[in-house]
């Protein structure tokens, strides 16, 4: 082969090689359209995925009546990712209210299409919320190193912050009871007037334990979780029925292994209070579970045991328990559904990162 012919063939080979490489290297562009799409209109459960703080990867998934999961619902409804972590959320009169951190904001969405109606900013590290008299009340802890926090009142019609009250502790869960705002704060529960934001009552909790979250039983009594860790980092605490007339708690029930965040929900007839448990915290053998406390018989029982549970809720229609293995917050959660007796009902499906709340519209 002559030298010039060799160079020519060699040149053509290199040219072809470069072009092949080019198309191979961009193959992933073609798959851009293979993404999730909008939520199914007939969803039966909204999953709020808290997300990873560093990635601000909070997201929304929905589950339809056939058990099919749709992910990234917010992103495809609004053309942008949420860009926050979801601390909590609930539905109020056709609106899904998301309370988010990093970016600190409250997003109010239309539950039919998940499009953002408006966004409230200006509250540092908002935590939980409740609605009373058409206003949204939100707890906030700007700095976990300081024993102070706030409750903000937000005018939902005007989409702006009305006013706030500074508290001398770190407020967490919040609920509306008989037109008043009930807030867990340290080892006490405060009752706040929704109009004046004046603290009207202080209900003391048991011992050193922190008041966390609330639920209501069949008789519309408010129950609060009081949870903490002992010196050996064992979760300890229980639940109490609040007695607002005596400014104290009734029936403090010490619960085995109740988990530190103290989220509560009830079964459909509101005779049992469900809570998350944790065993072997800080060890390789850590196990989590969901247990219930029977209000009448004052007994507790484990419903289901597993790995990596965080948020959970009960479907008010059939008593099914929705939870997820959050897989160490590293990546997506694995959705788990059990019947009221704790029997697995679904094949494992993947939802967003840190599935934390399950809302039944």
């Amino acid at each position: 082969m002559g030298k010039s012919k060799f160079i020519k063939q060699f040149g053509l080979f290199v040219a072809a090689f470069l072009l092949v490489i080019n198309f191979n290297s961009c193959k992933d562009d073609e798959e851009e359209n293979k993404k999730s799409n909008g939520a199914s209109a007939d969803y039966t459960c909204i999953v709020l995925n808290q997300g990873n703080y560093n990635d601000a990867s909070g997201s929304i998934s929905t589950i339809d009546k056939n058990g099919e999961v749709t992910n990234q619902v917010y992103k495809y409804a609004n053309a942008y990712p949420l860009a926050s972590i979801i601390e909590s959320g609930f539905i109020d009169r056709g609106k899904l209210i998301l309370i988010c951190n990093n970016e600190d904001k409250i997003e109010v969405l239309n539950i039919s299409d998940f499009k953002t109606l408006f966004t409230i900013k200006g509250i540092v590290t908002p935590r939980y919320g409740t609605v009373a008299d058409g206003a949204l009340f939100v707890t906030s802890v700007p700095d976990w190193n300081n024993q102070e926090g706030f409750v903000y009142k937000i005018n939902l019609s005007a989409a702006k912050i009305d006013t706030f009250i500074k508290l001398d502790g770190q407020p967490e869960g919040i609920i509306t009871q008989n037109g008043k705002i009930v807030v867990g704060e340290g080892n006490k529960v405060k009752v706040i007037n929704p109009t004046t934001l004046a603290v009207e009552k202080v209900v003391k909790g048991p011992g050193f334990l922190s008041a966390k979250h609330f639920t209501k039983d069949k008789d519309n009594n408010v129950w609060a979780s009081f949870v903490g860790y002992d010196a050996s980092y064992n979760a300890t605490g229980g639940i109490s029925k609040l007695n607002f007339s005596k400014d104290s708690v009734d029936n403090f029930a010490q619960l085995s292994n109740i988990a530190g965040e103290g989220h509560l929900c009830t079964n459909p007839d509101k005779t049992e209070i469900l809570y998350r448990t944790i065993v072997g915290a800080y060890t390789e053998d850590e196990k989590s579970g969901i247990s219930s406390y029977d209000i009448d018989s004052k007994s507790e029982k484990e419903i289901v045991s597993g790995d990596g549970f965080y948020g959970f809720n009960v479907d008010p229609e059939n008593g099914d328990i929705y939870t997820a293995n959050i897989n160490g917050w590293r990546t997506n959660s694995t959705l788990l559904i059990y019947d009221a007796q704790g029997n697995a009902k679904s094949t494992e499906q993947t939802v967003g990162v840190g599935a934390c709340r399950f809302i039944f519209p």
Partner: protein
């Protein structure tokens, strides 16, 4: 689609000279094949024993980007994914699908990867200090020391150049309030040499970006960096040389907030990093024997929110190299034995008082060429760490020219390495969260490479391809346990992929050209265990693009240099498998011109103005989620050398 067109256009640029070569026989003239044009004589280095593929930066590239960090350099010139937490912010490197802490960073044979975190922040390593930057993907901890599971980055600088005295002063201005200045001096004679590099960089970094369709200007992202490196060599006699190096750098930075928090002062933070390194070294070089002894003290300090994370690392290193003459082999076998010992005292607010660790290693490296067409390499290292047993690491490599023709040489090679990585100090000692029961991470890296060199009178080209497979066992990851996080060994991750590159050198008329295209296709997946990452089983690991590309076209014409660089990062997922970050293609242009000022009495002076336009296409992109990156920006620099 846009990315595809851009890469297509860029790669077609590389094809043009070939077509030109076919049509105009005499227009392309020969140049010496000088892909790696590094100043200074070649020093004995541990990397002499690796058979794995490597990437070396050209001196032209380094010189044009003196005031950038190694992070910017790696992002622009290598096809490996870097993760930038913003412009000028913390940057890590992932080699062949491994984690950031799996790459060992070595300066003049001394490991400078942080002992606490393990992962190097390349944004606080100044290009200004170095004459040579090499990347060794693949991992070979028998050579580069424990930790090189994914690979190693070696940085070289030195005062051992017996070149005439020279002084270079430079100053620059750029977009977004960027200011820089530096000085590099070299004085000496055959007996003693001293080299000094001094720099400062400052930037308001208030670049515009777009978030949710709204234009914003970046806040809280300014930085101010300065540093000095002084290196001295004194030749005691014919065989012995003594020397000392002092390195000091200080980086004060705001921490660039996420785009959505740009207007929220409650999210503004700052961080300060300081590093002091003092190295005393002795070299003995006589006939076939070469002895290198070093004593080093490295003090790294990071302050964040009033908390201090610092380490003192006092170490001694000794390497004895011998070339064995008088054998029947084609060339004399080369062996090197050595060892190092470290006393490490951390000052970390979260560690128990009095925490300390001792580490050491011994190793044997060898290279044999029994016949002309066969090179064999074998290396082994044993490490010792307080209260831990570290497995033996070893590597074996071979290389053989399959075809040797008049114009073409085709070489095949392979490398097998078992690598280890000791858990970081944070992994072991971080308060209640540290885990002293951790096992060291290990990996098996297997690679095959093919390299074809064609050298004609008018044109030179190298086409190289490497297939690799890296199995990492006992991968350490921090996972939640109750309300705290603990480091855990989490089983097996497999990275597989192919890298290929094409480098061409030629001249047309009075211009000479160097083109380098590097492609990396890597698929990193979880194989077993790792239950916390199960949604990713069978999928690419988060934030790792499968496809990356880096290309640089450097042209010289008389006293002018022009460099056009393209870099593509393919789409990748965030930690959410359903959340896709778009791929992006960036184009950078740099040009400089040497103005020679003749002097009758003294040596000529050179004045070199440089202009750099980064992100020429003004592409909006995110390297990691929600961290804004600048669009088109420009910087000017002027360098005076005499």
């Amino acid at each position: 689609m846009q990315n595809r067109i851009l890469i297509l256009l860029f790669t077609l640029l590389g094809v043009l000279p070939l077509l030109h070569a076919q049509s105009e026989k005499d227009s392309i003239q020969a140049t010496e094949l000088d892909i790696i044009d590094v100043i200074g004589q070649k020093k004995a280095s541990l990397s002499d024993f690796t058979g794995a593929s490597s990437l070396s930066a050209s001196n032209t590239s380094i010189e044009m980007q003196r005031h950038k960090s190694i992070a910017d350099f790696l992002a622009q010139h290598t096809p490996y994914p870097v993760r930038q937490n913003g412009n000028g912010m913390m940057t890590t490197l992932s080699l062949r699908g491994t984690s950031a802490s799996h790459t060992q960073v070595i300066w003049n044979e001394i490991t400078i990867s942080p002992l606490t975190m393990g992962q190097t922040d390349y944004s606080i390593l100044p290009t200004y200090f170095f004459d040579k930057i090499d990347v060794y993907p693949g991992g070979e901890s028998a050579i580069f020391g424990g930790g090189a599971i994914g690979g190693a980055v070696t940085l070289s600088s030195g005062a051992d150049n017996p070149t005439p005295a020279r002084l270079t002063i430079d100053a620059g201005l750029g977009s977004f309030g960027k200011k820089s200045a530096g000085l590099r001096s070299h004085i000496g004679n055959k007996k003693a040499q001293n080299e000094t590099a001094l720099f400062f960089n400052q930037c308001d970094n208030d670049f515009p970006f777009s978030y949710r369709g709204e234009g914003m200007r970046q806040k809280n992202a300014s930085y101010f960096n300065y540093g000095i490196l002084n290196q001295t060599n004194i030749r005691i006699n014919q065989w012995n040389t003594l020397g000392g190096d002092v390195w000091f750098t200080k980086y004060n930075r705001d921490i660039q907030p996420m785009m959505q928090n740009n207007d929220d002062p409650s999210k503004y933070e700052e961080i300060s990093d300081q590093s002091t390194k003092v190295v005393l070294h002795h070299e003995f070089d006589k006939n076939a024997w070469h002895l290198r002894n070093k004593a080093a003290w490295i003090n790294d300090r990071e302050e964040y929110k009033g908390d201090l994370i610092a380490t003192h690392d006092i170490s001694f290193h000794s390497n004895l190299r011998h070339k064995i003459y008088g054998t029947r082999f084609h060339t004399p076998p080369l062996i090197e034995i050595g060892g190092d010992i470290h006393y490490i005292r951390p000052e970390v607010y979260a560690y128990k008082e009095g925490t300390e660790e001792r580490r050491g290693s011994i190793f044997l490296l060898s290279q044999i060429k029994p016949i002309k067409r066969l090179t064999l390499r074998g290396n082994v290292r044993k490490e010792f760490v307080t209260d831990m047993t570290i497995p033996l690491s070893f590597s074996f490599g071979t290389e053989t020219p399959a075809v040797i023709g008049e114009h073409v040489q085709w070489t095949l090679g392979g490398n097998l390495a078992k690598n280890t990585k000791t858990p970081t100090l944070n992994d072991r000692y971080w308060g209640e969260m540290g885990n002293k029961d951790l096992e060291s991470e290990t990996s098996f890296n297997l690679e095959f490479k093919s390299e074809t060199k064609a050298s004609f009178r008018r044109y030179n080209i190298i086409i190289a391809a490497t297939l690799y497979r890296n199995d990492v066992d006992n991968w350490i990851m921090w996972l939640p346990r109750g309300t705290i996080w603990k480091p855990i060994n989490v089983d097996n991750v497999l990275a597989r992929g192919v890298e290929w590159g094409i480098t061409q050198e030629f001249s047309i008329a009075k211009t000479t050209h160097s083109l380098r295209y590097l492609f990396n296709h890597s698929f990193t997946e979880i194989k077993k265990g790792f239950s916390n990452m199960r949604p990713f089983i069978g999928h690419q690991m988060p934030l790792l693009p499968q496809n990356t590309f880096a290309g640089t076209w450097t042209t010289k014409f008389k006293h002018a240099d022009v460099s056009l660089s393209g870099h593509y990062t393919g789409e990748r997922t965030t930690s959410d498998i359903f959340d896709i970050l778009e791929g992006y293609f960036l184009l950078d242009l740099a040009a400089e011109y040497d103005i020679i000022i003749k002097s009758k009495r003294r040596r000529d002076h050179t004045l070199t103005p440089t202009v750099q336009i980064n992100n020429l296409l003004d592409k909006e992109y995110q390297n990691i989620p929600f961290r804004g990156m600048p669009g088109r920006n420009i910087s000017f620099n002027i360098r005076w050398s005499f």
